[in-house]
């Protein structure tokens, strides 16, 4: 399968074997973040805490990511310290684990990594333990030390990217969502009034970045897909979006850390913001 050596920043990925070897090691903290919020309760990596993306990773009132104060609070309660190495993993090929990674980076956490292959890879390896026991850690005094809002795209930038063409604009949803045949994947409650995509966006479904075992493809394979086949220009800034910003975090991670694109932003407003705007241009074949 993929080798990590040729990635731009290989240190942000760890293997399932690495995680097994480092279980319960001081200074290393494991966090599970799933799409299916019942998965953690059913069983998780020993020592892992679980974050619920619906209730813990966003502002509870207005539509926004978790505030810096909220993030500090979450870290303190989970006993995560500024100097800890945080390993994130989750279901659906790390969709929300990648979203968590993005949030950790926005709030300047120094050492955060993804477990390559996520929850399913761990589950399907017979030597990997799972438990229902929830670990307890003493609270920390975590402090957000720097903010990196340059990792996030807000609507004005998205308009600019769509209109002026000096950005790569990447829609990572399924082809049916991109063309507007469906507005959201079946069963999803967060949706939009209109289907289609942002004018100028290229459709590169997030899943093109992964192998059948859930791990990321090699740097050469990824470069062939994103640059050679789909024509992204690595010298331009890039904005990735999906429906609510979790699948696009996955692609954001690929472009920024595995391929080393210099400026990549995740548009977390994504289609549930854009597809609800009155008067905004939409491309729909």
């Amino acid at each position: 399968m993929s080798t990590t050596e040729s990635y731009a920043q290989p240190e942000v990925l760890v293997s399932t074997d690495w995680v097994k070897q480092h279980l319960h090691q001081p200074g290393i903290r494991i966090v599970e973040i799933d799409v299916d919020t019942q998965a953690y309760e059913a069983g998780h990596i020993p020592g892992a805490v679980g974050f619920n993306w619906q209730t813990q990773l966003q502002d509870p009132v207005r539509r926004d990511i978790l505030s810096a104060e909220g993030f500090e609070q979450l870290m303190r309660q989970a006993g995560i310290r500024n100097e800890d190495t945080v390993i994130l993993y989750g279901d659906h090929n790390n969709w929300f684990a990648a979203y968590g990674f993005w949030l950790f980076k926005i709030y300047g956490h120094r050492d955060v990594r993804l477990m390559n292959g996520g929850r399913v890879k761990w589950l399907n390896e017979p030597d990997k333990p799972l438990t229902t026991e929830k670990p307890v850690f003493p609270p920390s005094n975590y402090k957000v030390q720097s903010m990196h809002t340059e990792l996030r795209a807000l609507l004005p930038q998205v308009f600019e990217a769509s209109q002026k063409g000096h950005y790569n604009l990447v829609d990572v949803r399924s082809p049916d969502e991109f063309t507007g045949k469906v507005i959201a994947p079946p069963g999803m409650t967060e949706t939009a009034q209109r289907g289609g995509h942002i004018p100028g966006a290229k459709n590169i479904p997030w899943s093109q970045a992964v192998n059948p075992d859930g791990t990321f493809k090699s740097a050469a394979e990824l470069r062939a897909i994103y640059v050679e086949q789909k024509g992204l220009d690595p010298s331009k800034p890039t904005i990735a979006y999906c429906r609510i910003g979790e699948r696009s975090s996955h692609t954001w991670f690929v472009l920024k850390y595995l391929l080393g694109f210099p400026e990549v932003r995740n548009y977390d407003g994504s289609w549930t913001e854009y597809g609800n705007l009155v008067g905004a241009p939409i491309e729909k074949p």
Binding site: D36, A42, G43, V120, R173, P185, W206, G214
Partner: protein
């Protein structure tokens, strides 16, 4: 146990085998050819209501014999409903717990029935945004329970357990062979875990190499509960393509149309997967002209009334008195 008087010591004695087969009934009005005999094997005559009783009992019996299930250790299983129902009813009667993990798209009737027969129920949203090798959410969650709480749950795993295939090799195949007096030329089946087609097909092929085995699958994006099409078959380790002569892909809506015809014109109260199989059989009959075909009808219509209501427009109307529609 006495199959003549049909007096039994326990419900388990009703499980089918060659001495107590599920019925084989001739299809009369919906068979397009007078020179081709067509029979339906009514699997809803199994004691817990579907073809899945066979695999469920084989898997459970094996776990019991190995001492893997008892009062303190039950089972957890991913299911689209029927296997779960069989297992839950059996587990309840044997005195241990059953946890069923079902995809959200499973019909409401099946979810309710699982709870009625005492299963703990987990519902997961599958097929959010397909990816290679992602696996099935319900299978993954069931595996998680079985791994994280191995002291509480054993997982029969119908998608991988050879007992699923053996059940059909030992019962369904021999029943059909005897019931048709060895005259069967065509077997029509649907695909789910593939236990039915692999076990039955293997037995019948051993008796007569020339029997044609025809699998019927719904097209992509289908809503025919319990069935998988080729794109979704990767999860099953029991699929043996070498046994299958042809796979017919049928437009999913025909499952409902044909099932309705079975209910109304044959008196066979069959579910949508049976409707799909009938459509496949009719196409082959029109092509091949003569023979003796057996269709395995997995279950009856009662668990699918809400699905029928969704797919058949005329069923959406006239369900309330005009006075209540103010």
């Amino acid at each position: 146990m006495n199959h003549t008087t049909r007096v039994y010591d326990s419900i388990f004695e009703l499980l089918p085998d060659v001495e107590n087969p599920t019925p084989l009934v001739r299809v009369r009005r919906l068979n397009p050819s007078p020179t081709f005999e067509l029979f339906a094997k009514l699997e809803w005559y199994n004691p817990f209501g579907s073809v899945k009783d066979r695999a469920a009992w084989a898997m459970l019996h094996e776990l019991e014999q190995r001492g893997e299930v008892h009062a303190h250790r039950g089972i957890v299983e991913p299911t689209s409903g029927n296997t779960g129902l069989s297992l839950a009813a059996m587990a309840g009667a044997r005195g241990y717990r059953m946890r069923a993990v079902v995809p959200n798209r499973v019909p409401l009737e099946k979810k309710l029935l699982l709870k009625i027969v005492g299963a703990e129920l987990d519902v997961v949203s599958d097929e959010l945004c397909p990816a290679p090798g992602l696996g099935d959410g319900s299978i993954n969650l069931a595996k998680t329970h079985a791994r994280a709480q191995a002291d509480r749950y054993a997982m029969p795993n119908q998608y991988e357990n050879p007992a699923n295939v053996e059940a059909h090799f030992r019962t369904t195949g021999p029943e059909i062979w005897r019931q048709t007096e060895g005259r069967i030329t065509h077997l029509f089946v649907s695909l789910g875990t593939c236990g039915t087609v692999t076990g039955t097909g293997r037995f019948l092929r051993q008796q007569n190499r020339r029997i044609r085995i025809i699998a019927v699958q719904p097209g992509p994006g289908h809503d025919v509960p319990g069935l998988r099409n080729l794109d979704q078959l990767a999860v099953s380790k029991l699929f043996d393509p070498s046994l299958i002569d042809e796979i017919l892909e049928i437009e999913p809506e025909l499952a409902y149309t044909r099932a309705l015809e079975l209910c109304r014109q044959e008196g066979l109260l069959a579910g949508p997967s049976s409707g799909l199989i009938l459509e496949g059989a009719r196409r082959i009959i029109q092509r091949d002209g003569n023979g003796l075909g057996v269709m395995i009808f997995p279950d009856n219509v009662f668990k699918y009334t809400t699905n029928f209501r969704k797919h058949v427009r005329e069923l959406q109307e006239g369900l309330e008195s005009p006075a209540s529609r103010v």
